[in-house]
């Protein structure tokens, strides 16, 4: 479904993603793991079409990133990206206007579940509320590839459970999820496959269960081992 070969993105004084090669299958929940600045966000942005690679190949369903891929891929960035005039309702309308797979009823439902007032201005929302809104708007799309960049950041514990449940509830064998996070323990139980990135380079990857059995430790412990200073 998603394939990259020697994917590289370099900036003035840094190589954000360094010859990354991956193959992602449908029907799986992938965890993209690594500390801040390891290249997770840059990778996701390249898949989302927000950043163009420096070199290497990136294909979605066999096609380069473009209009087709953008219509099937939903990306939730870490930052707040809405226009300042927008309320929750406006954000929903925007997504409805541009994405045929957006479901307004599901959106209203999700906002309700997370106790968000759709009429409130986004600019006046707390960071926690903003985080919930982003999830709501992203998961209300019936996308084929869903990439959530730090979905649990800034969210209180109770809402985290709701979000994990929503992710689980959205899952179908045709969909693929990529969750990037450094809150690994929250995700330990729901991930199928773990991808560890360090300084833009792929360090380890494999099915979560197998990694646990081979190494005799949890993904959390593996994470600590890989990224220990």
């Amino acid at each position: 479904m998603l394939e990259c070969k020697n994917l590289t993105k370099s900036y003035l004084n840094k190589i954000a993603v360094d010859r990354l090669s991956l193959q992602l299958e449908p029907g799986r929940i992938y965890a993209l793991l690594g500390p801040n600045g390891s290249g997770k966000t840059t990778f996701m942005k390249m898949v989302a079409g927000l950043v163009k690679p420096t070199t290497g190949e990136l294909l979605y369903d066999g096609q380069p990133i473009g209009i087709y891929s953008k219509s099937r891929i939903a990306y939730m960035p870490t930052e707040s990206y809405f226009y300042t005039y927008m309320t929750g309702v406006d954000a929903g309308k925007y997504y409805h206007d541009f994405f045929p797979d957006f479901n307004p009823d599901r959106y209203r439902q999700l906002l309700d579940t997370m106790n968000l007032d759709p009429t409130q201005k986004i600019a006046k929302m707390s960071s926690g509320m903003m985080a919930k809104l982003k999830i709501a708007v992203t998961l209300s799309r019936d996308a084929q590839l869903i990439m959530l960049d730090e979905p649990l950041n800034g969210i209180d514990i109770i809402a985290r459970d709701k979000i994990v449940s929503t992710i689980i509830g959205s899952f179908t064998p045709e969909k693929t999820f990529i969750l990037s996070s450094h809150l690994v323990d929250e995700l330990e139980k729901i991930i199928d496959h773990a991808i560890f990135i360090k300084d833009g380079v792929l360090v380890m990857e494999g099915a979560a269960e197998e990694l646990r059995m081979e190494r005799g430790k949890s993904i959390v412990d593996l994470y600590k081992e890989i990224y220990a200073e």
């Binding site: 929940i29 459970d161 689980i168 899952f171 139980k189 729901i190 269960e209 646990r212 059995m213 412990d221």
Partner: protein, 120 residues
């Protein structure tokens, strides 16, 4: 369910369900939650649930009615075997740990006899 990392997740879920069957929380013939529901309940990946149900069916503990769902078996013989299996499994783990710390069979049986009635 406490998550332990050195045992595959699906086995832990199976163990939990088996426990519920033995203690009567789940009754013979009862319908189990859907894949989605169980995943949400345990907060785990739906793929893991698929494995759970597949494995349990292989062990003849459940059966699937197409389009309806997965059900606990009503086979009484199988269910009594289950209790035995679980007991052996738990005992096996305990025995291994005790052997590791050098407990003898006699010491162990003695201790068990003393604390059995006192323990809840």
């Amino acid at each position: 369910m406490d998550f332990r990392s050195n045992i595959p997740l699906y086995l832990q879920v199976i163990a939990d369900i088996k426990k519920k069957i033995i203690t009567g929380q789940l009754t013979p013939g009862e319908k189990l939650p859907s894949t989605r529901e169980l995943a949400a309940l345990y907060q785990i990946n739906p793929n893991t649930v698929v494995r759970v149900y597949n494995e349990m069916e292989l062990q003849n503990l459940t059966f699937t009615k197409r389009g309806i769902g997965t059900f606990i078996t009503e086979d009484a013989h199988r269910l009594s075997l289950l209790k035995e299996e679980m007991a052996k499994l738990l005992a096996g783990e305990l025995v291994k740990e005790l052997k590791d710390i050098g407990y003898t069979k006699e010491e162990f049986l003695d201790t068990v006899a003393r604390i059995y009635d006192v323990t809840l």
